[in-house]
């Protein structure tokens, strides 16, 4: 067996958490340093994995497989393919940045960083696990640390942090109940059909499930993953939750955690239940577009920066759903790339808003203005995230969105045009927020604000660099993703209707 690169990548934050537990309470700088070291190790390893992944060969690489629970056919099965790899990198980029975005946390730093490390490891685990059971073990590791972080370090504005935390937690858990039910049913059915328990995604993918069964199961999985992806109308936890959460949690939640929903939808639901996917695809597309339009309109009405970005992230997830629903390789490529792009952008956005809030003690747009003069570096980060959000060519999110539109136009024609219109609304609210916050006459009360500097610059530099590099060299991202999507498309090709007859039952 190879050197367990992925396991080490996964364990680095957990080891950091263990070290943190044994450090004295008041060594705040040390806590931060340990957390930074842990996430940096993971980031370095995932960069190494990303660039040494053999794209020509494709498929699963860096595989580790140890039998785990024999009677359930579970194995500790880690590996990355073109689908997992960008997500793994994204997780660690954001995890590393989140540590620095939390540099100014003063209250109970030890507990904060322990929970943050568990959070990062949990998210990472879902993306590299190639066994459904192990995937589930990681799937909810994160829920409880997030709850505790929201109630202890969160902020109460429009809703209390207790309400926000509980809403977020319960929404996600109830969603996952549907997912768990479908997973158990799928497993039992697969044993009935093949006689051999096998919980790996690949193994389940080979089982010929009856079509009706696939249709039911896909719906349950869609509810589970959809609520995590903040699919309209299961999205309402998302703006409230992000607004209540501390910066690091908003970054990780909007940046990567949500993406587990999209990832799971492709990895599990579409791959294992292709007939179900074909049946529900138009439904997903409609929900995706509804989410896009509805959330963009809601964002227009927001005056709190975090709510604005919260709704904007719901709206962007609509594009992801649209790309998945297209069920062609162009669309799914776009969906995965958009998840990556949105992750980087949302994390940057939330970290900049976090700094603005820390310094001005407000996120209320009418109370802000002219910050570009006083805190230019912060303003640069804010504007980069804003431009990426509206899909400015040259930044990372333009090509993915464009790809989704190409993929979905092929399938849904006119329907996709509505989604494209969503871009215009996005531009409207993002530019307006940028203008009202950063530009205009500077306000006196903000004259002595200190610009971000030192460790605070890390999120801007790391995430900003990815925004630009990803925009200029999109092939860095797309080659990898495509090598992961092609096999999936080849696998499910038999189930897909032709472009005209999409949607079996409709």
């Amino acid at each position: 067996m190879n050197f367990p690169v992925l396991t080490i990548c996964l364990l680095a934050p957990l080891i950091a958490a263990l070290i943190l537990i044994f450090l004295p309470r008041d060594e705040e700088r040390l806590h931060k340093a340990v957390a930074a070291a842990g996430t940096f190790t993971s980031l370095a390893i995932s960069l190494y994995v990303y660039f040494s992944y053999n794209r020509e060969l494709g498929g699963l690489q860096f595989v580790e497989r140890i039998p785990w629970i024999n009677d359930l056919g579970v194995s500790y099965f880690m590996g990355v393919d073109g689908l997992s790899l960008p997500m793994l990198l994204l997780t660690n980029l954001i995890g590393f940045s989140a540590v620095f975005a939390s540099w100014n946390v003063k209250k109970r730093t030890k507990e904060f960083f322990v929970l943050l490390m568990v959070l990062v490891a949990g998210v990472m685990g879902t993306f590299i696990a190639q066994d459904l059971f192990i995937f589930l073990l990681f799937y909810e590791v994160v829920v409880i640390p997030i709850y505790i972080m929201v109630i202890v370090w969160g902020s109460s504005k429009r809703v209390t942090k207790e309400y926000a935390g509980m809403k977020l937690t319960i929404y996600l858990l109830i969603g996952s109940a549907f997912l768990l039910a479908s997973v158990i049913a799928t497993f039992v059915k697969s044993v009935q059909i093949t006689g051999v328990p096998d919980m790996s995604f690949h193994g389940l993918g080979q089982v010929p499930f009856p079509e009706q069964f696939q249709i039911y199961m896909f719906l349950l999985m869609l509810i589970g993953f959809g609520s995590l992806l903040s699919m309209w109308p299961l999205h309402s936890w998302s703006p409230d939750g992000y607004a209540g959460a501390p910066t690091a949690v908003s970054m990780i939640h909007a940046g990567v955690l949500k993406k587990i929903g999209g990832y799971g939808l492709i990895r599990l639901a579409v791959y294992v239940m292709p007939a179900g996917a074909a049946y529900w695809a138009p439904f997903i597309a409609v929900l995706g577009i509804a989410g896009c339009a509805y959330a963009a309109m809601s964002a227009l009405a927001q005056k709190d920066l975090k709510y604005l970005v919260g709704y904007s992230s719901v709206s962007h997830m609509g594009y992801v759903l649209l790309g998945v629903a297209a069920l062609n390789s162009v669309g799914i490529n776009g969906a995965v790339a958009n998840m990556f792009a949105h992750g980087v952008m949302a994390a940057l956005f939330f970290s900049m808003i976090g700094f603005i809030y820390e310094k001005t003690h407000t996120r209320w747009i009418p109370d802000l203005g002219g910050l570009a003069r006083q805190v230019p570096r912060l303003a640069v980060g804010f504007m980069m995230a804003a431009m990426a959000s509206l899909g400015l060519p040259g930044l990372i999110s333009f090509i993915p969105e464009f790809t989704i539109f190409v993929g979905s136009f092929e399938r849904f024609g006119l329907l996709a045009v509505v989604a494209i219109a969503g871009i215009i609304i996005t531009a409207l609210y993002v530019l307006r927020a940028g203008a009202n916050t950063l530009f205009g006459p500077p306000r006196q009360e903000y004259d002595d604000l200190k610009d971000i500097k030192g460790p605070e610059m890390v999120p801007l530099v790391v995430l900003g660099a990815v925004l630009v590099v990803g925009g200029l060299l999109p092939s860095l991202l797309f080659d990898v993703i495509n090598s992961g999507v092609e096999p999936i498309m080849a696998h499910i090709a038999d189930y897909l209707p032709t472009a005209v007859q999409i949607g079996g039952g409709y």
Partner: protein
Amino acid sequence: MPFDYSLITTELIVAALGLAVLVLGLIAPENRQKGLGPITVLGLAGALAAAVLMWNVQGELFGGMFVVDKFAYFFKVLFLSAAILVTMGCTQYVSNMGVHGEYYSMMIFAVLGMCVMASAADFITLYLGLELMTISFIILAAVNRTDGRSVEAGMKYLILAGLSSAALLYGLSLVYGMTGTIMIYDTAQLIVAENISPVLILGLAMLVAGLGFKVSVVPFHMWSPDIYQGAPTPVTAFLAVGSKAASFAVLLRLFAAGLNGMAGTWAMLVAVLAALTMVIGNLLAIPQTNIKRMLAYSSIAQAGYILVGLVSANEAGIKGVMFYSFLYVFATMGAFVVVAAVYNKVKSDEIEDYAGLAQRAPLLAAVLTISMLSMAGIPPLAGFVGKFYLFKTVIADYFWLALLGLIMSMISVYYYLRVCLVMYRDEPKENTPIEIPGNIAVVLMVAMLGTIILGIYPGPLSELTNTAAETFFLH
């Protein structure tokens, strides 16, 4: 016919220990009474070692009335481990009550009753074991003589347990009347789907009521919140784990083995009761402000989940019940030992008095959180795997039950998190750290690591329960 008494080594050790502790409690001077705790732990550990070492020695005693199979051993190991954990974790609590000899000896006799229940293969032995356990628990509930609520709990348990025993006995006699045998495995041969009479169904209903009371299945659950709250915390903990697991062992023998022929008659009934139990247990737990009362309702809900394993009445279901009962030991012991440790310091079981526990005693807060989340079945903790095994047995035929169970367990997170909220968010009323004595720390670590390890790496326990469940039908 000579009997091979070596088969009941475990029971013999426990009985001898019980008598010895009873006598020692009477003759030992006041200031030496504390030593009874370690003696109990050591003795029980000896019995546990015997049960583990004799894992492969199987057989029958007394003409088949007492069967010693891996199923029985598994449950004996479970009772003994639970008793050891609770005794070790609560010595300070017991010292504070000032009652030693009676407490420890009754605890041991309760374990003896449970061991007999796990091996019982006829109605008489079953009833003997059950009553030995119940009477010990009645005394234990009232053991804190100076506390009005404890005495009240004992009285309530006496009356209600008496009623339930009556229902159980009546059910047993009806089944006996229809089949002419008291041997459970002979009953299995005699009852087939063709000869189910209304009287038999009445007997069945009585059995469900009698045993439903013991495992606190809705609508026979009313007693448990009052008694859980009133009884001393270690007794509550052992009642929640031991009494429940022992009654499930009996329930499995009676229904999955003895009355398997009429499974068509009772499977739906049990499924509906399980659903009701999960829903009502979880919903009533939400408004509670006393942690013991909340855990009581949560333990009602847990009974609902475990009952799911009985619905399918096959090996997989039995395995699910065994697996879940075992992980439930760790979760419940973890939670109640924390409750006892907090009570030692703050003299209160109200949730609001847990404010700031995460800062005063991070270990206590962490163990309580992990134990509760395991009960809720959140991966990667043991409860999730347990629910996976339980619900997988019914998902094909009773999909609604599995989905309901999963949704209810997610809803249960709501009231568990309210405790976390108080522990983690709120500032403590006083800032003094709560020191944790070594014995409690050991129990807490065992409970926490057990919960986490069983969740991440359940393979070994799963295989163990598989082999144990295989022996269940081989009689």
